[in-house]
């Protein structure tokens, strides 16, 4: 028999939680136990007294599944709020990647030229390598990394997405 999967659209969820041991395991466990996707997940402490963390989750699914994900997250005891950033109108998304490229000659020059086009910064260099820092949407980071594959890419580290709604209001 065939096991069906459903395609869906991408959503960015901002989740504020009590900054306590095990909360990340609880959230990732919820996603794996209920079969939801995680495309990326970032987490860091965001309050002055270190009591709150913000988790940004990029997920995808049909609308009913996204609604379930939000409801399931919201009922976890340490979760304060869950916001679907796509719901509230415009939002800003950023991701940082550190991209190590090794090579000499033309490839090295080409890598540097493209980094300039993408406004990537050089954060480390040797005679045979660069590390670029690039900030932008995931799409932009993807495209930069794809180009670097042609120029001697050896290693990539990415942060995953952080996002925040446009305008003066807080969540």
């Amino acid at each position: 028999m065939k096991i069906k999967t459903e395609a869906g659209e991408r959503h960015v969820l901002a989740v504020t939680v009590d900054n306590e041991a095990g909360i990340l395991a609880k959230i990732t466990g919820l996603f794996s136990a209920r079969g939801y996707n995680i495309e990326s997940l970032t987490v860091a402490d965001i309050s002055a007294d270190h009591a709150l963390s913000r988790i940004t989750i990029v997920t995808s699914g049909p609308p009913a599944v996204i609604d379930q994900i939000i409801a399931q997250l919201d009922r976890l005891v340490p979760v304060h709020s869950v916001t679907d950033l796509a719901d509230g109108g415009a939002h800003v998304e950023r991701e940082i990647a550190l991209v190590k490229v090794a090579g000499t000659g033309d490839k090295r020059i080409e890598a540097l030229r493209m980094a300039d086009v993408f406004r990537a910064k050089v954060v480390d260099t040797t005679l045979t390598s660069f590390i670029f820092e690039i900030t932008g949407t995931s799409d932009k980071v993807d495209r930069f990394i794809a180009l670097m594959r042609e120029c001697g890419l050896v290693e990539v580290g990415r942060t995953g997405v952080v996002a925040i709604a446009r305008g003066p209001e807080a969540l």
């Binding site: 041991a21 095990g22 609880k26 466990g29 009591a51 009913a64 379930q68 009922r75 005891v77």
Partner: protein
């Protein structure tokens, strides 16, 4: 401090089993004047007993077990409580904080293991946090949708001195369950109810959890609207079984009239029920022409399985009260539902719960007959009935009538064999003067049969009524339905002599072999003051009907054994 907090929280009973990592708490419980500790024979039974205590009283059940195996043995009962929304607080011992993470003796990652089978859990690293956490845990277990909370307490935290105050007011810094229903949703719902031509109430365990007032409100609203009512397995007792509006349970082993009425309704009013797969059957054929109102305290239950037209998030009792108030405020009168009731009565006329039987005194007892006889014999005694899981559970749900909430204790969501007997122990502790009967199958009972010792120790007058057909009957029934009667490992081989076993534990044992012995045997069980085990031998190959096979619609019920085909395609086999 733990014991003082339990006293302050009004705990009178703890179900548990000692071990190295909880000895300090056990020492504090030694000869305690108000907290009664019930020593079980296995930690799983402690959790089910606590569920029985909670389900029969509405108060949270409390469990105390040691680290490592104590905690892992409790996991099944904790998960059972999560699935059936039973308020429970489980205290587990843990190795000292200095040894955590070293694979110490009887160490396990209790908070890791129980993270996804609890409503919430804690590992207490700071003695000053112990008091607030205990109070918070009881708050979380009992507020919103109830559920189990685990508190893992390292041994050095148990012996440390910390500050303890009784908090005047408990508020978790993020947990805010919504209990008050939205007035606008109530207003829209009442118009929809008043306008419906073919309405039906579909109620569940949420009505029971909300307390006896919710059951009273339900009865009032059903009476105001004149609509038929069905309920899930977990909701039995919220509405009296002898009321003409009662259609019986719905779902896989529900009545024909309940399932047909759900299918043909133009409005379903779901109250504290969650459209479980055992209820809906094939989803694309589930009640295709109805609008749906869903009242649930857990927002994640809404639109999870079945999309609904009006969602009312809140406590079932308060929502029902608000609906009743809105009904009279608007001056609604019950519509003439005569045409709808004529159709319902037509489905009732199939008499789907009838079963073939012989009437000679030496005939085999049909299991349905045994349940009916037990029901007739205990009418007016207001018994508490627990069950294990399987055919006997469904026969009990179909043929035993309930008239009030908190009388029917069964494992619905997780379907835990071994639940019923320890749940009966917990219910009997909480209700020492009531008649508590566990309707069991011979296979399920053996999963926690060691608790006979607990019953003997505390002289509990628990009655176990075994429908003994020498099979894991529900497994065999599915093998007949789906696997051409290849009975792979479903025969209950090497059964004990239950009457001799009763004797060994100091109980009374009664065997019933034939129909002629049934009434006398039940009467003797009820009259006997102490614990009794009844080995009621029933027809071995009887199956539980009516039944909606997995993957079928409400309208495709199997009413009789000869409707069975014996094979299924892979799609159907994959469904549980």
């Amino acid at each position: 401090m733990v014991v003082q907090a339990l006293v302050d929280l009004g705990v009178d009973t703890v179900f548990g089993y000692p071990g190295g990592a909880v000895l300090p708490i056990y020492d504090a419980l030694y000869k305690h004047p108000t907290i009664k500790h019930i020593l079980v024979r296995h930690e799983q039974a402690a959790t089910h007993a606590a569920e029985g205590y909670a389900r029969s009283t509405g108060k949270p059940g409390v469990v105390l077990v040691t680290s490592g195996p104590g905690a892992t043995n409790a996991v099944t009962g904790i998960t059972d409580a999560l699935l059936d929304s039973i308020p429970m607080v489980v205290l587990t011992g843990q190795v000292p904080t200095t040894l955590i993470g070293t694979d110490a003796f009887q160490e396990c990652d209790t908070v890791g293991i129980t993270r996804h089978c609890t409503k919430h859990n804690y590992l207490v690293m700071d003695p000053d946090r112990l008091g607030p956490i205990l109070h918070e845990a009881f708050y979380i277990a009992t507020h919103g949708r109830p559920g189990p909370v685990v508190i893992d307490i390292p041994k050095n935290v148990q012996v440390a001195t910390g500050t303890y105050n009784v908090p005047e007011f408990i508020q978790h810094n993020s947990y805010r369950p919504q209990v008050e229903p939205d007035a606008d949703a109530i207003a829209r719902a009442i118009e929809m109810i008043a306008a419906a031509e073919r309405p039906i109430f579909y109620t569940g365990g949420g009505v029971i959890n909300s307390g006896p007032d919710a059951s009273a409100a339900l009865r009032q609203l059903v009476s105001l609207t004149g609509a038929p009512i069905t309920s899930t397995l977990m909701g039995l007792g919220a509405f009296p079984a002898d009321d003409p509006k009662w259609l019986g349970m719905l779902g896989m082993h529900g009545t024909y009239e309940a399932n047909m009425a759900m299918n043909r309704a133009d409005l379903i009013i779901a109250v504290g029920a969650r459209f479980d797969d055992r209820v809906t059957g094939r989803l694309d054929a589930f009640s295709p022409d109805s609008k749906k109102i869903h009242i649930d305290i857990d927002r994640s239950s809404i639109n999870k399985i079945v999309p609904v037209d009006i969602a009312i998030v809140g406590d079932a009792g308060r929502a029902l009260d608000a609906l009743i108030a809105a009904w009279s405020d608007k001056g609604h009168k019950a519509r003439d539902l005569g045409e709808w009731w004529r159709r319902v009565d037509g489905w009732r006329a199939t008499r789907c719960l009838d079963f073939p039987e012989k009437t000679e005194t030496d005939a085999d007892i049909m299991p349905q007959r045994a349940v009916k006889a037990l029901f007739d014999a205990t009418r007016g005694m207001d018994p508490i009935i627990t069950t294990e899981v399987g055919q006997h559970q469904m026969w009990a749900a179909q043929h035993f009538g309930f008239f009030a909430p908190n009388r029917w204790l069964t494992s619905g969501g997780l379907g835990t064999m071994g639940y019923g007997f320890p749940a009966a122990v917990g219910a009997q502790i909480a209700n020492p003067d009531r008649l508590v009967i566990c309707i069991a199958g011979e296979a399920s009972l053996q999963m926690n049969i060691q608790e006979m010792g607990t019953v003997s120790q505390y002289r509990l007058p628990v009655k176990i009524f075994i429908l003994n057909n020498e099979w894991m009957g529900m497994v065999r029934q599915w093998q007949e339905l789906t696997y051409e009667s290849r009975y792979s490992n479903s025969y209950s081989d090497s059964l004990p002599d239950f009457v001799k076993l009763a004797d060994a534990y100091g109980w009374t044992g009664i065997r019933i072999d034939t129909l002629g012995q049934l009434e006398d045997g039940i009467a003797k069980m009820i009259e006997t003051p102490g614990p009794v085990i009844v080995d009621c031998r029933v027809a071995k190959l009887a199956n539980c009907f009516p039944m909606i096979p997995s993957g079928a619609a409400h309208t495709d019920m199997i009413l009789q054994p000869n409707d069975i085909t014996g094979t299924m395609d892979d799609e159907a086999k994959a469904l549980v």
